[in-house]
Amino acid sequence: MTGIEELVGRIEALQRRDLEAWIAEELVAPREEAGALVFSEMECARVRLICTLRYELDIEAGALPVILSLLDQLYDTRQQLMALTAAVAKQDEAVREAVLRGMGE
C-alpha cells in the first residue's frame, strides 16, 4: 500500500493537484485507511499509466476519462474472452472443433 505523499514523491512528473483531480473524477480509486488514502499496487500502476497519457503523450485532461473508460472496457472484454477461451480449452475435442467451425462461418 502506498500513501498519496509517497506516490507523488515516487513519480517525478506527477503533480499532487492533478492526482487529487483524478481521484475526484474517479479515474483512480484509492482506499481509505485510518483516514488516509492508500493506493494498491494496481492503482499505482494505473496512476503511472495516466501520468504517461497526460504528461508524456500530452493528452488533454478532458480526454482522460474517455480513454480510460474505453481501456477499462477493453480489459473487461479481454477478461471475459480469456474466461471463455479457457472454458473452451477444457472441452472435448469435438466441442472445440464445433466452436471453431462456428467461428469460421
Binding site: 479481454r78 480469456m82 475435442e93 471453431l100 469460421g104
Partner: protein
C-alpha cells in the same frame, strides 16, 4: 542500450520538439497498457522511453553527444504496467469477475486462443481470420506430447518402435542409436490434425530409458562388473563378455584382481554428434567357488605367500 537517436528514429541534430514528437508516436504504438495483447510491446516501450529519458534532458544529451556517458544506465527501473493487473483478474480490478482459474496472469490472449483452438503461431492468425468474417479460417493442429519407455539396449542400439495413439492411429518412432534418457523426439506433423486445411501439430515424444540389469551408461561409455573365477583370475583366461552389441571374447591377464578395469575398445555407445563410439569398461570381480572345495582349502592350509600381505594396512593404523 542501442543508440537512443536510432531507437527514436531521429537525426542527431533533431530539435527538442522533434524528439518529443518521435517519442509520442512510438509511445502510442508501443505502450504496453494501450496494447494489452502485444507481448513485444513492453520491451519496445522500455527502449523507447529510456532513449527519450536520455535525450529530453539537455545536460544528459550534451554529455552523451560528447561521449562522456553511454546510453547504458538510462533504463527505467522495472515497472509493473496496469495491464499486468487488469489482465490478471486481480481482486477488485476492472475485470475481476472474469478470470477464473487455470491460467497464469501474464499469458497473452494469443496463447489462450492457441491452446483452445490449436497450437503455436496459428492462433492469432486464426483469430484475425475469424474477425474478418471467417473467410478461410485455418488453425494449426495442437501439438501432442507422449512419453515412451525404452529399454536400455534399445536406446543404446537404436530401434523402431510403434506407438499407438489415443485415437487408434499408429505411429512409427525411430529411436536413434545412442538415445539418452529424457531425450525429446519431435515428429513433425504427427500431432493433432489441423482445422480448415491448417497443418497438423507436431508430436513430442520424451524417451524414458529403463535401467539395465548389469550395464550402466556414462556418456558414451558402458560400464559393467564382470565376475571371474579364482582360477581365471590367477591363471589368466579367455572369456566371453556381454556387450550392448552381443558377446565378445576378452583376455583376462594372469594375476588379474577384483577392481581391475579392462577396456573393450569401441564397444560403447555411438555418439550422436561425432559418430564415434565409446568403450565398454569391464570391472573384474573375483568370485570364489560356490560349493566346498577341499583341495583348495587343503592347498591354502599349506600355502605360505611369497610376500606376506595385509590388505587392510591402509584402513587400520
Amino acid at each position: 542500450m542501442d543508440d537512443p537517436y536510432e531507437t527514436l528514429g531521429v537525426a542527431r541534430t533533431a530539435s527538442e520538439a522533434e524528439i518529443k514528437a518521435a517519442f509520442k508516436k512510438l509511445a502510442r504504438q508501443f505502450h504496453p497498457d494501450l496494447h494489452p495483447g502485444d507481448k513485444a510491446a513492453e520491451a519496445r516501450f522500455k527502449a523507447v522511453s529510456a532513449a527519450h529519458d536520455l535525450l529530453k534532458d539537455k545536460e544528459k544529451r550534451r554529455r552523451f553527444d560528447a561521449g562522456e556517458i553511454d546510453a547504458g544506465g538510462a533504463e527505467r527501473p522495472q515497472e509493473r504496467y496496469y495491464r499486468d493487473f487488469a489482465d490478471a483478474g486481480f481482486a477488485g480490478g476492472p475485470g475481476a469477475h472474469a478470470a477464473g482459474d487455470g491460467f497464469a496472469s501474464n499469458e497473452e490472449l494469443n496463447d489462450f486462443f492457441a491452446r483452445a483452438f490449436g497450437g503455436g503461431g496459428g492462433g492469432m492468425g486464426g483469430m484475425g481470420g475469424a474477425r474478418r468474417g471467417g473467410a478461410g479460417f485455418k488453425a494449426r493442429g495442437q501439438d501432442a506430447s507422449y512419453t515412451l519407455p525404452v529399454s536400455f539396449l534399445d536406446a543404446a542400439n537404436g530401434t523402431i518402435r510403434t506407438l499407438t495413439m489415443p485415437d487408434g492411429k499408429t505411429l512409427n518412432v525411430t529411436i536413434p542409436e545412442g538415445a539418452e534418457d529424457r531425450q525429446m523426439l519431435r515428429l513433425k506433423g504427427q500431432g493433432m490434425p489441423g482445422f480448415g486445411g491448417g497443418p497438423a501439430g507436431d508430436a513430442y515424444v520424451e524417451l524414458h530409458v529403463e535401467p539395465h540389469r548389469f550395464f550402466r551408461r556414462k556418456d558414451d561409455n558402458i560400464h559393467a562388473d564382470i565376475p571371474v573365477t579364482l582360477k581365471e583370475a590367477v591363471l589368466g583366461a579367455r572369456i566371453e563378455v556381454p556387450t550392448i552389441a552381443g558377446p565378445v571374447a576378452m583376455t583376462i591377464p594372469k594375476g588379474a584382481n577384483t577392481g581391475m578395469v579392462l577396456r573393450l575398445r569401441d564397444k560403447g555407445v555411438k555418439n550422436r554428434k561425432s559418430g564415434t563410439r565409446g568403450h565398454q569398461m569391464v570391472t573384474l570381480k573375483i568370485v570364489l567357488p560356490e560349493g566346498e572345495e577341499p583341495a583348495l582349502a587343503e592347498f591354502l592350509e599349506g600355502w605360505e605367500p611369497r610376500m606376506p600381505q595385509d590388505p587392510r594396512k591402509e584402513m587400520v593404523s
